[in-house]
Structure formats: structure tokens, C-alpha cells
Symmetry: C2
Amino acid sequence: MPTYAEMTAEELLEAKRALLAQYEAYKAKDLKLNMARGKPASAQLDLSLPLLSAITSTSDLHAADGTDLRNYGVLDGIPEAKELMASMLDDDPENVIVFGNASLPIMYDTLARCIDFGTCGSAPWHTYDSLIWICPVPGYDRHFAITEAFGITMVPVRMDENGPDMDEVERIAASDERVKGIWCVPKYSNPGGVTYSDEVVRRLASMETAAEDFRIFWDNAYCVHHLYDEADKQDQLLDIGKACIEAGNPNRYFKFASTSKITFPGAGIAAMAASPENIAEAKKRIGIQTIGYDKINQMRHVLFLKDAQGIAAHMSQHAAIIRPKFELVCSKLEEGLKDAGVGSWTNPNGGYFVSFDAPSGTAKRIVSLAKDAGVVMTGAGATWPHGEDPYDSNIRIAPTLPPLEELDVAMDVFVCCVKLASIEKMLA
Amino acid sequence: MPTYAEMTAEELLEAKRALLAQYEAYKAKDLKLNMARGKPASAQLDLSLPLLSAITSTSDLHAADGTDLRNYGVLDGIPEAKELMASMLDDDPENVIVFGNASLPIMYDTLARCIDFGTCGSAPWHTYDSLIWICPVPGYDRHFAITEAFGITMVPVRMDENGPDMDEVERIAASDERVKGIWCVPKYSNPGGVTYSDEVVRRLASMETAAEDFRIFWDNAYCVHHLYDEADKQDQLLDIGKACIEAGNPNRYFKFASTSKITFPGAGIAAMAASPENIAEAKKRIGIQTIGYDKINQMRHVLFLKDAQGIAAHMSQHAAIIRPKFELVCSKLEEGLKDAGVGSWTNPNGGYFVSFDAPSGTAKRIVSLAKDAGVVMTGAGATWPHGEDPYDSNIRIAPTLPPLEELDVAMDVFVCCVKLASIEKMLA
């Protein structure tokens, strides 16, 4: 069969008629399917039910150092939780602060502190007439929403299979002292599933920056979120902390992680790791904002997850549930679009998303067609700053939430919409 | 017996010798007692142990509206928790946002949002050359630490038995548009135990303010923290929300409360109530900062505390534990200082503190003497902005944490230190 690009206009029209019939048939089914957000499925949440009864005696309510977890105190996390989160953050417990229920507020607050107070002795960032931020694309919409809220100009830089285009990143970082930072999801990136190469990590750590207080916001949200148990299918990430120290820029990074997609989103624990100087400053400032975070929930997580090995075993159970969903998405795309020759997509080894690139100028139309047929996707453009994809091409597919049988139908609808929108575009 | 003021120098010297002997005897006991922070006692924390097992089935993990509490979603609190916290905040659930584990970060963040973005359409507060804040004294050191951290000039205003001196508050609020707000602990105030009179509440609500975006930070931390079950010994507070609406200043207030001293400090839930316009703005902005707070812990609290009646019954159990401690403190002061005629103190109906006013110029000396004898008090000056009490007089006594028998000894030491420092001062 010829690809769409090889077809005559008449053949395209013919194919379009067939697709329209198929599309109308889907619409008639009155579907209500959702591939929009990276939410764990109910079966994944069931894995962590024992967390809720992990504290079984009053002795569980005291930390190793004797602290009564039920009372005030302990700003930076109980020792056991610092150790647990340090294993996820590739760092030493003393460089870790364990916070509250999620990492997004840590990132927001860390940026807000830079804006209000500066960092490591620099001027408060609100004293600049404007600020600039490097935003690898496609990226995470909630990151972009934070920099947008603070009025920061976002400069998109394309991701490839090794991470952000480092020539561009280096050029921008060196160009202006108002360029203050970069968002990174360095492992199984959202949405591309890309893990930064060692070279990319080293270049980020060592590049010249016009701003002395340039900061890498290293959102390692998917650090333990492998889809496969086999070692050769588990991506490895160089630690940005060690790389920055080696490069002589020890204060350049803030590392973030959470148990949101390990235990319960919203009822997990989250942490930051950074240099001793950054951590000391953060403690000084968050000691004004709070007396301390939820130590009881920290202990619940310690008792339930135990250590790095415990986390890995638990994540393997998650993978068993979601791996078939990722494989279904990719095989549906392969089967459905190979002949037509439209679109390209990722085959990630981990994380929560498949990134789909539709022919330029069709993403919005595809998402709209899917929506009208009862399949909700992440909004087209969401993976770009301000929700504006200049190519109108990238679509984030989130396969984890729907049951396999629903995902099967949803992907059929999606494939149909991709083909239909592609032909419409070619005929336009 | 003559009071110290009536004594001759010789009599004072004689009394001092006796006190020094007593003091040295205390020192020899190698005591380790603490009346520094308003922490619940272990017996109080035991009251809330059932909270940890309040969730008994998976049906408890779904809100009334069907939301799976284990997954992402719900920015402003589950409906059941909004209702519970609305009862503490004297407001409607739709005017309430339920946040995370404590109210201090809500206050910090609410102020930070005003500074970064302004409020209800006003200019960001960081665009002013300086900001001014009204600080009733004696007050809460952590409040003052927040305004200090943001470089805000703090103007102290004396508290009396009805609340802050409203002539002063009105004068300052009307004087300058950079005067942006006031800290209030309106019920069983920290440390004075004062409940604002209806007139004070109405004057705060209706006063002229030079700033259109003047805000009352209404920290109702002790709203349900009565020491007595009898209705005539339970202070009543006029709702600032209704007062502001009546006065035509509906956006003037932010109300805060938490379960920190109801269930577990650090593992409780906290909430804010405000006008629909303020709440809408807060939701818009916190929706950037977070995906949502810990819904499972919200449900735990709903299941354990149930409603206003459940809270009242629970607080009555707290009161049974701490009431004897407050009564011991006050009787020790009465017995120990009446004859000497030095010092004055409060006899609160609720809250967590007894406020002690020593003779001017002796508070630091008293706290230092007590410390050397093994009794840790809140630092002298802590109840004033920047920790600087210009009269060196106020000392906050926190009776809840130590067991009764320890408190007994600690108060003997304290009384001895007050008398000794007073005589030293008179002889100086």
C-alpha cells in the first residue's frame, strides 16, 4: 500500500471517506475515554494500600533519634526519610530536605525564594526588569505554568534523543545574566521519555552562564520509574550534583523527587537535594515558612518502602501493570500508522508518557477530533510554553490511567483521528 | 510582709541573700525542664492515636463526590474537609480552602503571593520601596519572623484586655498606603490569652486604611481551644468575615486555622477562609504551586473529628489535661509573687500561654537565671518584633508540655528567678 505522501489526491479522498465512516462509527459509540493526565491506574494505587496501615505501634511514632513524630519539630525531615529520599536523589542524606506531599510546590517555592530573596547572596530576582528561562520542549506544562506565573520569558529549546540541544542551551545561558535557569526532567522525560546522556549532563554542569546564580531545576520525577526489570532496558542517568561539583559549579543545581507515582499522588512525600550552601540557605528560609512537614507520613513511607531495594521491588509491580499499556500504545501506533507513513513517536523505557509528533499543523485538529469522539487527550500545545506549539505537532499520550481494554479502543480512535487530520491537511 | 517596693535596702539585701540560697539549691538539682514552646504534652497526643487508623476500608478512600483520594486532583480540599474546617473558621465551606499540614505556610504563602503578584488587582507589593505591618504586642514570634524575612517594617501596637489598641491601629493604618496589614491572633491570643472584643473586631473591619489592599491576617489558631467546659468561661469572638462584609470591606481579611493543637502538630490539616474574590484568586495562584494537598489526611481528620461537636468533645479532653497546668502556673505566680508585689500575668480561658510581665528591665535576666538553673523559657523579647522588647519585661510561659510535677518545680524556679532579678534591679 502506498503511504499518504505517495497517494494521488483521488486516493487520499477515497481514504478520507473510509476514515470518516470509521470516525462516525466511533462517535456513535458515545465513548468516554481519557488519555490526558499522567495519573496512576486504580490497580497501581492498590499496590500501596499497606502504606495506610504501615504504622502499627506507638514505637513507630518515634524516629531513630527519639523524636516524637506526633509533635512539633524537625524542619528538614526525619533521618530515616532523608536516607530513603537520598537513595532516589543519588545524594547524601545531609544534602536532602524532605518536604510535604509533592515536589511541584518545592519547585515553585524554590523559584519564589530566588525571586524574593536571591540565592547564595545574589540580588533578589524581582529586582531585574525581566527574567529568562530555558525550557526544553516538548516539556512539562506545570513547569511552564510556574515560570509563566512569575512573568519569566521562556525560551524553548528542542529535545533530541540525548536531551536538550546543548549548543542552543549553552548559547542562551551565556548570552544574558537575566537567563536564570532551566527546567529539566532528566530521566524518562515528560513527555518524550528521554534520559539525558552523560555528555548533556556534563555540559549542563560545566557550561558558561552569564548569571552567576543560574540554577538547573532537575525534576527527577521518574528516577525509579522503569517499565522493564531487565538492566539493559533501564536508563541510567549521570548525577547532576557530582557533575556540577566536578565542573566547579557546586551550587548550580536543585534536584527534586517525590513518591507521587510510587505510593499515592497527593499523599506521598517529596524531597530536594542540593549543595550544602543551597541546603543551608533553603533551611534558613523554609524555617520561616513552616515549623516542619508531616513526619508521620514520612515514617509511613519509610516503613512501607524501606530502602532503594524496596522501592525497586515496588516499582517493578507498577511496571507490570503499566508496561502492557505502553506496549499497546506503541503497537497500535505502529500497526495503524506505518502504512500511512504519518507521525512519529517515542518508545520509552520508563516514565509516564508516549510523545507523539503529528504532521505539522494537525495536532490541534487531532485532539479536537478525538475529543468529539469521546477520547480526551492532553491539550495540543501543552508541552510547549504558554501552551503554544509553533509547529502544532506534539501530542502527549498518557497511557497509565485507563484500563487496557479502554486504552485499546482509545488508541483506535486516536489513530483514526491522526490519519483523518493528516489527510485533511494534505488535501487542504 | 512588706512588698519589695516597701522594703528598705537592707531588707532587700536580706531577701536577696535568702533567694540566692534558694536559687543555688535549685541549681544543685541539675534540672532539665522546659516551658519554652507551645507544644502539646504526650498525653494530649495520645488522644488522637485513633486518627491513624481512622481509615478502615477502601470506601473511606473515596470522597462523597466519588473522588479517589489516592490519586491526583482536588485543589481546594475534599468537600467533607471543607465543611469540617468551615466550622472552625465560622464560614461557609465554599469560602474555604483546605491546605496541607499547618497554617503557618498558608500565612507565609498568602503574604508571599501579595508581594509577588499583589491582590485583587493591586500592584505587587515588592514594587513599593518599603512596606509596613502592624504588629500587636506581645505577639507570636513566628508571625514577626515572616514579616521580618520579607523586609517589612513592623510597628508594634500594645495589646490590652480587649485586643490591640485600636486608636493606634487606626492611626497607623490610615497614615500610609505602604501599611499593608496586621497580624492578629484574635482568640486566646499568643501569648496574652486575650480574645478581641466585638468593638475591636468591628473597628478593624471598618477602619479607614490608606492602602486599598490592606489585609488582616486573622490567625484563629486557638478558636476551639477552651480551657473550661462551662459556657461562661468560653470566650466568644465576633467573626471578622461578617464584620468586614457589614463594613463594606469584604476582601480585607484572611482567616486561618489548623488542627495542629487538636490532633498532631505537623500531621494535621489547615485551612484558610476569605471572601469569594480572595478565594478565587488564591485558587488561581495555588493551582500553579500545587496539584493538591493530602486528601487522605483530610479524610482521616473528617472520620476522626467528624464535625464541630466532635471537635468540641475532643477539645474538652485536651482541656482536662492542660487545665490543671494553667491553674498551677497561675496559683504558683499568685502564691509566690503576691507578697513581693512584683510582676503581673494573665489568667486565660484558653489557648496555650500565660503572659508574664516582669518589672521593666528584668525579663532577660529572669530567663537567663532560669536557664542556668535548668529551666528553659521562651527567650525574653520573643513576643516583640525582631525579638526586641523595649521594656525587657514580657515573658511567655508555655505550660502544656511538661508533666504537672515538672511544671511544679519549674514554676518554683521561675518565681525565685523573678524575685531575684527584681531585687537585683531595685538594688542596682
